[in-house]
Symmetry: C2
Subunit: 379 residues, 2 copies
């Protein structure tokens, strides 16, 4: 076995999920993630944890949904699915940790499932999703040919990309990110300005007063559930101004590029996209919360050096800032207070390695990609 697979498993089990002897761990293994699954099983055996392995197959999920569609003559609604499936509920109520290892054979395996069917299923499974989120869950991916293809990369090249992002000195990165968390926790207002081709394309301000930033250091000990991670994020409000997102993304199998949003009093009042504008409109029209920001995130993982059309990696990349329309994370909100609510959470990314600055309460924190505490930062 490639030694990097074993190291990936150890980071996942020890740093990310903090598994201890006696823990009941559920591992979901995608179609082509077998090898990392093997390494994780070995690590769990060594730690004295128990393991239950689920098969996370997009093709099986698609088949199940197509079966339900056929039975309902194509007209599926949430009532067609059990809203409280006994086995899945029992699993997540009994589990201490849930490790999801992505890496299927085809990122578009469910492309022919009707979007209404998909939404009905997601709606019916809301309780299960919440039970899953109540465990110490961590999501990662094993590098597969399908993901390499999605990234437009050769397989070995993609493997290196993934391990550069995952096999980091997380302790050191967590310390660096703590500086950014302190700035955001103490700050009241964030302003992001970017220029492209000599003209400003983003100038947006948002309030973050009273909100708590998450130091997302790829560990449940930091309220962070992605491996890799490497971002600091908070839940902004009262957004005003214009923002341009130059990094392409995929929304419901549609390629979306060049998104431009105009905010007034916290709400998107105008928008456009160079490609995929209908998919963007679909997101913004989901519900009232879909027109407000749920997240502002600062990417700080410099092990990620390119965009790969995967939000797990793209939003963590150093020299990027992202904003998500839709649902805010509870961890960013004062105890008992609810933030922006929505059925969606769609991240949009801006490359800030060129002419740009991020200000907190008027002080520049990041300029042209360099943080205040880094070499190359210009006062």
């Amino acid at each position: 076995m490639d030694e990097r697979v074993r190291e990936h498993a150890e980071v996942l089990v020890d740093w990310s999920a903090r598994v201890e002897a006696g823990d009941d761990v559920v591992v979901s293994v995608a179609e082509d993630a077998h090898e990392l699954g093997v390494a994780v099983a070995e690590a769990l055996g060594e730690r004295g944890a128990t393991v239950t392995t689920l098969y996370g197959s997009d093709e099986l999920s698609r088949a199940y949904l197509k079966g339900a569609e056929a039975e309902a003559d194509g007209d599926v609604d949430a009532d067609d699915f059990d809203a409280d499936p006994a086995v899945d509920r029992a699993i997540f109520e009994a589990a201490d940790a849930y490790l999801r290892i992505g890496g299927g054979r085809n990122t578009t395996a469910s492309a022919d499932v009707g979007s209404e069917t998909r939404q009905a299923y997601v709606k019916a499974r809301r309780g299960i999703r919440e039970a899953r989120m109540d465990t110490d869950w961590v999501s990662t991916v094993h590098p597969t040919r399908s993901l390499a293809q999605q990234a437009g990369m050769a397989y070995e090249e993609y493997q290196e990309f993934v391990y550069d992002a995952v096999l980091r000195d997380w302790e050191a990165l967590a310390e660096e990110m703590a500086e950014m968390k302190t700035i955001l926790d103490e700050g009241k207002e964030v302003r992001l300005v970017t220029e492209r081709d000599g003209a400003p394309d983003t100038d947006v301000t948002m309030s973050i007063a009273g909100r708590t930033a998450v130091n997302s250091a790829a560990s449940v000990a930091y309220d962070s559930h992605n491996l890799p991670s490497g971002e600091v994020f908070t839940a902004p409000y009262d957004t005003a101004g214009e923002a341009f997102f130059d990094v392409p993304m995929t929304i419901d199998a549609t390629r979306v590029r060049g998104v431009h949003l105009v905010f007034e009093a916290g709400e998107v009042v105008d928008f456009s996209a160079e490609a995929g504008e209908d998919a963007l409109a679909g997101v913004l029209d989901t519900d009232p919360g879909a027109r407000r920001l749920g997240e502002l995130g600062i990417g700080m993982n410099r092990g990620i050096d390119r965009f790969t059309d995967s939000i797990l990696f793209d939003e963590k990349m150093g020299d990027t800032v992202h904003m998500a329309v839709g649902r805010a994370y509870d961890a960013c909100l004062p105890e008992g207070e609810s933030g922006n609510d929505s059925a969606v959470h769609v991240d949009m990314i801006s490359d800030v390695s060129g002419r740009s600055r991020t200000e907190v309460d008027g002080e520049v924190v990041q300029r042209d990609g360099a943080f205040r505490w880094e070499e190359g930062f210009e006062e």
Copy 2:
């Protein structure tokens, strides 16, 4: 998808497991059983059942056990494993049906796990095994290259073999087997005589009085949990005489051939094997019950026309009779009575297509491979 895969899924879901709308079904998919898993998921979606998919990987199990071995410096005992793993218990207590689809990539994937480690794990998991047996469970296999290799067959040839065994008119076979069940239920003593090379090599009698035969028609509705099945079995006692088993088998990765057992007053008092005698001795020395018969089975599935070194198929083959040393099945015993008890249950098979006869209370039921009600049976 090969239409036979879809038919296999339908037999499994409808005939074998009797799945109905609202049932909570757990499916375990082995490493190379993906395709049948997809077909089963589609069928479950159509039936309105819920599905939870486990990944039944021998390589993951091996890795977990090797991890535990490394942690215990090679000295693993049952206390090293959680005897009541919360997630697995929750799964089988919540499940209505459990469908196990075998078909890995290597039938010897766990060959380097110490037998003590393996036994310790099996012992620790006894409660989980019982919880699993309390569901409507069915075990089947998807034809894989690894199983074809084990059978010494080409892949496409093996696929045909599997579907010939599985895709039968089960209703009709169940009716035929009902005749055999009636004979065994009403009978008091069974005698099996076989001749090879002109000389008798088996002449054994056993009592079956008071015992109930199972019409194992590959459906939970018949107390039958294998697909394919096609045998009628009961729980004999007071065995006397000699029995020769000419069909080779694999015990703990050792090839065992030409087993000869001598019974007195229900117990094996002498034994030999042409190959693998040590493995046979290991089985018989497990505990006192390992020297007594737990099962007498009559193979009646004529869709199985050759031995493939897989007990799932071999013991069901038409023109065979098998006896198992070790544990008896509760279904064969009067309510509240316990039969032969043992940690093992090892089936041994005799080909009765040549010179042979099976008598019940002195009446010949099967002669030279033909049943009393079949064409070719000689009075």
